[in-house]
């Protein structure tokens, strides 16, 4: 494919087109990923997540600018929610990153979730692969504002930065432990605000209460809109990366994610296969019927279906 060659040579338009393909066209997307997969795995993938209003976009902007000082090539994927009613979305994260638009070493792409839950879009992981093959040293994924269960970012990133701010009305305690567990690094943004120290203390207390592990995530206080202490955050992200590498954990983490992705793909395909097998001829309905009437049980039917596919 010509687009792939262009993209590999660093053509932004081709890169953008390819990301559209993975967003829009499943068949073409598969062909594409097959061709570029061997070029991936080089970038350090950083996830930036946290509640709405935490200042994730501003933080991303400042972080990217810092990385650019060392001439790293950076890709950004910013995910915003798609309206479940209309299928439309307003993707507004670029507003905070406008002066990066013209930097030749930065590629920013906004994505709507398009009905996918978990804080990312379905195509995010594949878009990351494209940016990886495109030659980015860093790929930053900014998730939608998370509530309680949008933790897919761990499946996609090497380092997850969890951003908090004082005074959002939510105590740290009220944020589900599940979310706290995904943070490799905690950032208290807007630390010029009243209550910032308290937020940091609460996070620290919570981390101290968590089961002991080899590495306790650090808490960094920044004020992104004043560009304050971003260096510290960057340093901690690097330290985390080195920690992973030095302890063989990067490989472990990535393998875990690759395995998970593979199983998800299989699961998805298997489901499609079963549906194709049974939906049109009415078999799925009659199976449902017999289950409803307690003539059989779901496990037996599962085994029947699976044996047929084999």
């Amino acid at each position: 494919m010509e687009l792939i060659n262009k993209m590999l040579k660093g053509d932004k338009r081709a890169c953008a087109r390819l990301i559209s393909i993975v967003e829009n066209d499943e068949k073409e997307s598969e062909k594409l990923i097959k061709k570029i997969y061997r070029f991936t795995g080089k970038a350090h993938i950083v996830g930036i997540t946290g509640p709405p209003g935490a200042g994730k976009s501003t933080l991303t902007d400042k972080y990217v600018k810092l990385l650019r000082k060392s001439d790293y090539k950076v890709g950004v994927i910013a995910v915003d929610p798609t309206s479940p009613y209309t299928g439309g979305a307003i993707l507004g994260d670029r507003i905070r990153m406008n002066d990066l638009a013209l930097d030749p070493g930065v590629f920013i792409r906004s994505m709507g979730t398009r009905g996918y839950l978990g804080g990312l879009a379905k195509a995010t992981r594949n878009a990351v692969k494209i940016l990886d093959a495109y030659g980015c040293d860093y790929i930053i994924i900014e998730t939608v504002g998370v509530g309680q269960s949008e933790v897919d970012i761990v499946k996609a990133a090497d380092t997850v930065v969890l951003v908090m701010v004082p005074g959002l009305g939510d105590d740290i305690q009220s944020i589900k432990a599940g979310i706290m567990e995904i943070g490799d690094l905690f950032v208290v943004n807007k630390s010029d605000l009243f209550g910032a120290q308290r937020t940091a203390t609460e996070i620290n207390m919570m981390l101290d209460m968590s089961p002991k592990t080899d590495r306790r995530p650090p808490v960094v206080m920044v004020t992104a809109n004043q560009n304050k202490n971003i260096e510290q955050m960057e340093l901690e992200i690097q330290k985390h990366y080195h920690y992973l590498v030095d302890n063989g954990l990067l490989e472990e983490r990535r393998k875990k994610n690759i395995k998970r992705e593979l199983l998800e793909l299989v699961e998805e395909e298997l489901k499609k296969l079963v549906i194709r097998e049974t939906e049109n001829n009415g078999e799925l309905d009659s199976m449902t019927e017999s289950l409803f009437n307690k003539e059989t049980d779901p496990f037996t039917l599962r085994d029947t279906l699976l044996s047929r596919i084999k």
């Binding site: 209003g53 501003t58 507004g92 905070r96 009243f194």
Partner: protein
């Protein structure tokens, strides 16, 4: 408010009226619509009676003109004493062109000047800045240095006129230039009268001509408060503006709530900077919009006056009555004008003029009929000014103070808007004050929600805009619109080159260096800016010094 026995009789009478007269009437012919709404989308009842205002205490809530809480106006005689200032906002192209328009306006009976600056000036760029390309002289006059300002006011005696300048982020620079021009005319600063808009918060909210971050902008503003209280005592140091908030699509109650919340933030900032509330509060002025819903608008102004008086007295413990008086300029609503059948706009502006006057405005700009299409021509500006003169001299509404007071609807509506505005203020207080609420995008989002609702109502036809979504005609393209000479940018650039060759560049550098040092400290910046301006440092040079030290504001958008 009413005699108890009579009030009970009224309740009975009303019940009977509803059961008999009203129901019969409704049965015969139903009303035109299920719900009747104000221009802001609030429900209007069929009938207002003493029942709707019985809870109001007349002396406490309404009172007498010139007395707290100033609901009926801040002066005892209002327009019987002196009419409002007819102040037409004008400015375009070069200082030379705008100077001609000002002289024309003064000849036509305008009683105050109001200067419109172009966007590069408003954002602190000289005309030769790359971002100024295509914008020079378009929405106002281009001012790059004191040299332009001298031309702008050439032949206009600054001791005699009061001048309003719509300038915000670089307000201190333009005020410094004005002081310097006056000085050259031999007019000392304490004699100068006028207003600078100087309201950065609404720029962040709605108008967009910001430069510096919030904290630094607030410092510039309080520096001006302090400097003027000592040196330019008759100058209105800020015009806290709801106008643009309304233009952005807010409701009337939001206009009041958000504007007064901004006002609270300025007062707090000045007090924090060590100023005594009564030293600067009398020089605070306000700026509101006038939309088409006459009675809602009149109520809005009255509500704003009453609420501000209470805030100043109760929240800030002001002692000087002047600190409690909300004085305001009004401009008719630009967003209410239609590009279709533009002559209809004359009628809209007349209604809006009535609203502002019945609401007790201190000064008024009336929009011209062609402003949805382009900058106004002299002819259309004349009609707009005549509209004010007709209301002032022929309509009779100026003969008595606050003539609509006591209307059950007006008083009920005044109370309703006051209450709603106070709810917004409380919410903003909870968010940590206006700057924080803006930072969080709260205020912008509320306005956008209201604007979108209105837009959808227009598109569904629930709101009728005559000539636009109803009563349409086929129209020819309008003729004779004002065009700004596209060469203005080039002319300004040439002037800048000449200026930089002529002035004492070493003195400029010295003054700018001194300013920079002051920016890094905590001193009042005004004297340094005045010094730099006198040496013909350009607006862009001065603003760049401050940009370098202060940084720039980043927009907060919530869609």
């Amino acid at each position: 408010m009413f005699d108890k026995e009579k009030f009970e009789q009224l309740k009975v009478a009303r019940k009977n009226w509803e059961d008999k007269d009203l129901n019969k009437s409704l049965a015969r012919s139903p009303e035109r619509k299920e719900a009747f709404k104000t221009g802001s989308g609030d429900i209007v009842e069929r009938l207002y009676t003493p029942e709707d205002i019985n809870d109001l205490d007349y002396m406490e809530e309404i009172g007498l003109p010139g007395q707290y809480p100033y609901t009926r106006g801040y002066q005892p005689t209002m327009y019987r004493g002196r009419l409002w200032t007819m102040r037409m906002y004008a400015g375009f192209s070069t200082a030379e062109e705008s100077n001609k328009r000002y002289k024309f306006l003064v000849d036509q009976g305008s009683t105050g000047l109001s200067v419109a600056f172009d966007l590069p000036t408003q954002i602190g760029y000289d005309s030769d800045h790359p971002l100024a390309e295509g914008e020079v002289g378009k929405v106002g006059v281009a001012i790059d240095s004191l040299a332009d300002m001298e031309i702008l006011f050439d032949g206009i005696n600054l001791e005699k006129v009061s001048t309003s300048m719509t300038i915000n982020s670089p307000a201190s620079v333009l005020l410094a230039m004005y002081i310097a021009v006056a000085d050259k005319q031999g007019v000392s600063p304490e004699k100068l009268r006028g207003t600078i808009q100087n309201d950065i918060l609404k720029e962040y909210i709605a108008r967009g001509t910001y430069i510096y971050p919030t904290e630094e902008s607030m410092r510039l503003i309080t520096d001006i408060f302090e400097y003027c209280s000592k040196n330019v005592p008759q100058w209105n140091t800020i015009s806290i503006s709801g106008y643009h908030i309304r233009e952005a699509g807010s409701t009337a109650a939001q206009e009041v709530g958000f504007t007064l919340a901004d006002g609270i933030a300025y007062v707090e900032a000045a007090i924090k900077a060590g100023l005594d509330v009564d030293s600067f509060a009398p020089r605070l002025s306000f700026f509101f919009n006038a939309h088409n819903d006459l009675l809602e608008e009149v109520s809005k102004y009255r509500a704003a006056r009453r609420l501000w008086a209470k805030i100043m007295k109760e929240r800030f413990k002001a002692k000087n009555p002047q600190s409690m008086m909300l004085k305001f300029h009004t401009q008719t609503g630009g967003s209410t004008l239609t590009a279709q059948q533009p002559d209809n706009n004359i009628v809209r502006v007349a209604i809006q003029t009535l609203a502002a006057v019945l609401g007790g405005t201190q000064s008024l700009h009336t929009n011209s009929k062609d402003e949805a299409l382009a900058l106004p021509t002299e002819d259309s500006v004349r009609i707009a000014l005549r509209t004010q003169q007709i209301v002032a001299h022929e309509s009779g509404v100026t003969n008595t103070v606050d003539p609509l007071a006591g209307s059950y609807y007006i008083e009920a509506k005044t109370k309703e808007i006051e209450d709603k505005a106070m709810e917004y203020i409380t919410k903003i207080d909870e968010l940590g004050g206006a700057p924080r609420a803006i930072d969080a995008g709260y205020i912008q989002k509320e306005i956008t929600d209201a604007a979108y609702k209105y837009q959808m109502d227009v598109e569904k036809g629930d709101v009728v805009v005559v000539g636009m979504n109803k009563f349409k005609v086929a129209e020819k393209a309008p003729q004779g619109l004002l065009k700004v000479d596209p060469m203005v940018g080039e002319m300004q650039k040439k002037k800048l080159v000449e200026l930089k060759a002529k002035r004492d560049n070493q003195a400029v550098t010295e003054k700018l260096t001194a300013l920079k040092k002051a920016c890094k400290g905590t001193e009042n910046l005004m004297p340094y800016i005045v010094e730099a301006v006198r040496e013909y440092a350009t607006l862009g040079e001065i603003c760049d010094v401050m940009r370098e030290v202060f940084g720039e504001y980043e927009q907060s958008v919530m869609l």
